[in-house]
Symmetry: C3
Subunit: 392 residues, 3 copies
C-alpha cells in the first residue's frame, strides 16, 4: 500500500486546534474518496469535532468529541443512523450523566454508533467501588457509562491507495479509580461497503480494573420499516423483561412507528463458527434489498442485545443491534453472573467488528444463507419469558 | 417596512462560529440604533455569546448562550437589571444544576430577564417521571429548570426601518423524555421604550409532555430603592410562606438594602381586562419618575409572583416580577393544583409579553390609573397568611 | 525595580481571547528568563490555558483555567510534580464534582500545586447550609471543594528587571450562598530557586461565610524515592486513621513504589518561630542533594497534613505536603473543632507561602539544621494511634 496522507488532526502535545482539512482523490483515481473535518457550532453542539469519511461508496461522520462515536452514515440509498429527538451532537461539557436518576446519557443520544462503557455500561444502578482510602463505598453508576461523553485526546488520519484509517485515543481515567484508555481504529477500504472498527482498551494502572463495552448501533428508516427483519444465528434468545415478553412471538420482525410504543429488548446467546467463534447478524428491510450486517467474534463480544423501539418517528423510531462484552444490566448483576471482564494492571484487550451495508437482494440472501448455516449447528431456543441468566 | 438587514448570527447547519457584527443606523436616520454581537472571555463567562441591541432609546444585551435570557438593559437613566454576587454571565458548561441540593441554578443567576422552565420550574423537589422502559421513577427536579442553562442552537437578526428583531431557538430535548423546543422573538421598535418577547414552546415529540414557564424579571437600583412601589391589579394576593407573611402589610412597598434580609414572595391572582385578559403590572421608584411595566395576558401567564429580596447590595438587592404559567412551587404541587400545562404531541404554545421603561411622571401616573381601573373591577383581597391554594 | 512588561493575559471586560505571548530576556540579561502562554487542545484539556514561567533557573506552568493551580515545574534536575493516571490538565467544564459519591475532583487531579477550598475542602461529607429562604438544608460537600475547577476570570503578568509576577482572580460565588473571591499572586525572582504565592480570599457578600483552604503540593520522582525523607518541626503528629497508624514508625520516610499501597496521612501540629510563627518543612531525596522546602507562617496555615501514596508508578506514586487553614476532614468535623475560618462581610484574608527547590547538599543540610532548631523548642510527640483532636 502506498501512503497518500498521514497526519494528526488532534494532538495533545502540539497545542494546535483540531485540524480542519479537506482531502480528496486525485482525478481519475479508482475510488472517488474524500475526507473532511470540521467543528460544529451553536447550542449544545458548540465545539463538537467531526471527521467525515467518504470511501467512494460508504460515507460516515465520526465524532472525536463524543468518544469516537459515529454520528451517521450512508451507503447509496441506505441510511446508517436514525432520527433522535436530540437533534444535534452534544458536547459532553453540557452533559450531566447523573441527571434524572442517572439517565443524563439520554440527553446526548443520537448517533448511529455509540460506545457504552468502558468501566461500566448498562442500566443505572448502585455498585460498590473503592475510595481513596481503600474503603468500599456504594455509588450510583449511570446509564451506559462515560465513554461516549469523553472527547478524544488524539486523532490521526491515514489514507493509502487502498484504505482510509482514522485513529483516536480516549482516556477514561481518574486518580484512585479506573484508568482505562481506549484506542480506536476505524478502517474502510476505498470503494467498499464496509468499515472495520478495532478497539483496544488498556488498563493504564497497576491495579486490576473492571471493563464493560457495548456497541449501541442504531438504525431508523430506511432500514427500519414495517416488515424489516433481524436475522441472527442463536442458541437462545429471551426477552429482557415482561414488556419485552409481550412481543416475543415477533421478536425478529419490526412494525410501523407506533405512538406510545414502549421499548423491548431481547438478549441473545448467539451461535458462531467453531474455533474463530465468528458470527454475523443482520438487519434487513422489508423488500430484502437493503441491509446492514455486523460481523464479529464471540471471543470479543460474547453477549448480544437487540433493542426495539418502534415508537413514533418524533420520539425516535429505532432499533439497536448491540454486540457487547456482557448484557446491559446493572454492573453488579453482570458481575454476579461472571460476565464482567477484569483487566490486570497494564493489560490490553483488543476487539474487531465489521459493519457492512448491502444493497442487493443477492448479497443479502447470501448473508441469510450464511446465518442459516450457523443456525443449523445449534437448536435455537426462543424463551417466552425473561430468564434470570440473562437479566435481573 | 423595509428590511435593512437580515442575517443569521448562529446557524447549526453552517458550521460557522457565532457571528461578531456591528451594525448601525445610517447618518441622519430617525433613530440612532445599533446592534453588536460578541463573545465573552475569561473565567466562567468563557464562550458566552452576547447580542447588544440599541433601538436609539432602549438598550439591552441578550445572551444566546443562556437560553436567550437578557443580561441587562438601560433606557435613559433607568437601569434594567441588578447587581448579583455572580459577576459574570456563566457558560452553562460550568453549571451543575444538581449541586447544593438542586440549587446549582443560583451559580449562574445574574440576569435582568431569565426564563425558568420549560419542562419544570420552581422550587426543587422530587417528582415522578417515566424512564426508558415506561416505568415510573422518582427524580429530583432542580430549581427553576434547565432552559436558562441551554445555549441557543440558532440565532438570527432582522433590522427593518421600523424595528429590530432577534430570534433564537433553544432545544430542551432528550430521548425517552421531554423534547421541547423554545423559539424566542425579541422585538423592539426603533426609538421606543419597549420590547416585546414572543415565545413559542413546541413539543417535538408525539407523547404529551408537561410544560412550565416563569419569567424571572429582576430589578435592583435604580428602580428599586426605599419607597419603590409594586403596582398591580389583583383579585387576591397571599404570602408564600410564614416569612413572607411577616411583610404582608407592606407587600407592595420596598425598603432600603438590609443585611441579612431573608427573601419574601407574594403570589397573585391578577385582575385583567375581560376577553383579552390583558393586564399590566409596574415597578416604580420612590419619586414616581422611573418605572418598568410588564404587559401580558393572563391567558398566557395566569399566575404572578412578586419576589422581594431587599438584602444588602453585596448580597443582591433585587426584586423579581414573575409572570408565569403557574406558581414557582415544586412541580408535583402545581400538578395537584391543576396548573401544569400539558402539550400534546406536536403542539405549540405561543405567548407574548411587553416590557416598557417609563421615565416621566405623566406616563407612570397614566399606567397607575390604568391599573386602578382594572382593580376597580374586582375586590382585591390581601391574605395575611399563606394559602394552600397558592403554595404548599 | 524597572518594569519591563505589564499586560493583561485575560480580562473579563475586554472580550479578548486569552493572550498567547512569548516574552524573553534581552540578550546579555543577567537571567535568561521567559514567559509563554498558550491554550491546550484535545480531549479533556480542550481550552485549558497555560502560563509557563521560566525565571532563568526555576521553571513552572500555571493553569488559570484550573483556579490558578500549578501544573508542574522543574529546577535544574529537580522535578516539581508527579505522574498521575490523569494525563492531561482537565477543563472544569468536563468535571462533575458530585460524581462517584463526591469524588469527581479526582478526575482532574494531576497538578503539582492544587488549591483545595475555598468555601470547603477535605473529605466529602454531608453538611448543613442555608437555602434561599433562610432554611437549613443538608447537602453533600464534595472532595476538596470547587476552587481547582473554577477558571480564573482575570490574569495579568508583570515582569520587572528583578522578578516575574503573575496575578489571577477566581470567583467562587453564587446567589444566596458563599460569594468568595480568590486573588492569587505568584512571584519569582529572576534567577532564583523559589517562588512566593500570596493569596487573598475576600468575602464579596455582606453575610459571614466560612472559608477553608489547603494547598495540595505533590511530589513524585525524582524527589520521591526509596529513602526520601520528610523533615518538619512538630509538636505533635498523629496518623489520620488506622491504615495510617500502620506506618507511623516510618511516617517521615518513603519507600519504593508498591502496587496496591493504600494511602496514609499524618496530621501535624507544627512548631514555629515565636512571634512570626514562621516555619519550614522539607521533602528531600535519599541522597540529600535534592529537596523542596515550603516556608509559611502558622498564622496563615496552622494545620499541616503529609500525604503518602507510594503506590505503583502507574497508579500515581506521590506524596503531598499540605499546609492548610484546617485539617482535610469533612467540614462539619472541622467546624466542631473550631478550626473553620469565618470571613465577615467584605473581609479579606491574606496568606503567603514560599516554595524553594534546593539542589545542593549544603543548602539542604542548612534547612535541616534550621528545622532541627525549631524542633528543639518543643517536645515532638508522635502518636501511634489516630487522635480525635485531629481526625474523626
Amino acid at each position: 500500500m502506498k501512503t497518500l496522507h498521514k497526519l494528526p488532526l488532534l494532538d495533545p502535545e502540539s497545542g494546535d486546534d483540531f485540524q480542519h482539512i479537506f482531502l480528496e482523490a486525485d482525478e481519475g483515481a479508482a475510488a472517488d474518496w474524500s475526507v473532511q473535518s470540521y467543528t460544529l457550532r451553536g447550542g449544545l453542539q458548540e465545539g463538537v469535532q467531526v471527521v467525515e469519511i467518504h470511501n467512494g461508496k460508504l460515507h460516515f461522520a465520526v465524532l472525536p468529541t463524543r468518544g469516537m462515536g459515529i454520528w451517521k452514515g450512508e451507503c447509496g440509498e441506505i441510511t446508517l443512523g436514525w432520527d433522535s429527538p436530540v437533534k444535534d451532537p452534544v458536547n459532553p461539557a453540557f452533559i450531566n450523566l447523573e441527571e434524572r436518576g442517572g439517565l443524563g446519557w439520554l440527553k446526548g443520544f443520537n448517533e448511529w454508533f455509540v460506545r457504552c462503557g468502558i468501566n461500566s455500561m448498562g442500566a443505572p444502578g448502585i455498585d460498590t467501588v473503592t475510595d481513596y482510602s481503600g474503603n468500599s463505598m456504594d455509588v450510583p453508576l449511570t446509564l451506559h457509562g462515560k465513554i461516549a461523553n469523553i472527547p478524544a485526546r488524539a486523532v490521526s488520519l491515514e489514507v493509502t491507495d487502498g484504505a482510509i484509517v482514522l485513529r483516536g485515543e480516549v482516556d477514561e481515567t481518574m486518580m484512585f479509580g479506573p484508568a482505562l484508555r481506549l484506542n480506536v481504529e476505524i478502517r474502510t477500504d476505498l470503494g467498499s461497503d464496509a468499515m472495520t472498527i478495532t478497539d483496544t482498551v488498556t488498563n493504564l494502572g497497576q491495579n486490576p480494573q473492571e471493563h464493560e463495552m457495548l456497541y449501541h448501533i442504531n438504525y431508523g428508516e430506511t432500514l427500519l420499516e414495517n416488515g424489516s427483519r433481524f436475522v441472527a444465528p442463536f442458541k437462545q434468545v429471551a426477552p429482557r423483561d415482561p414488556r419485552s415478553a409481550e412481543g416475543i412471538k415477533t421478536f425478529d420482525r419490526y412494525g410501523d412507528p407506533q405512538a406510545g410504543f414502549v421499548e423491548q429488548a431481547y438478549l441473545y446467546d448467539l451461535a458462531a463458527k467453531r474455533g474463530s467463534r465468528e458470527t454475523a447478524v443482520m438487519l434487513r428491510n422489508a423488500a430484502g434489498n437493503q441491509a446492514s450486517v455486523l460481523r464479529f467474534s464471540l471471543k470479543d463480544f460474547p453477549c448480544f442485545t437487540q433493542w426495539k423501539n418502534t415508537a413514533a418517528r418524533a420520539d425516535g423510531y429505532v432499533t439497536g443491534l448491540e454486540p457487547a462484552t456482557n448484557y446491559p444490566n446493572p454492573r453488579r448483576f453482570e458481575r454476579e453472573k461472571g460476565r464482567v471482564i477484569t483487566l490486570k494492571g497494564g493489560e490490553s484487550r483488543n476487539t474487531t467488528l465489521t459493519i457492512e451495508a448491502l444493497d442487493t437482494k443477492k448479497a443479502i440472501s447470501e448473508v441469510e444463507k450464511e446465518i442459516r448455516q450457523l443456525q443449523k449447528t445449534v437448536k435455537g431456543i426462543v424463551d417466552p419469558e425473561p430468564l434470570g441468566k440473562f437479566s435481573g
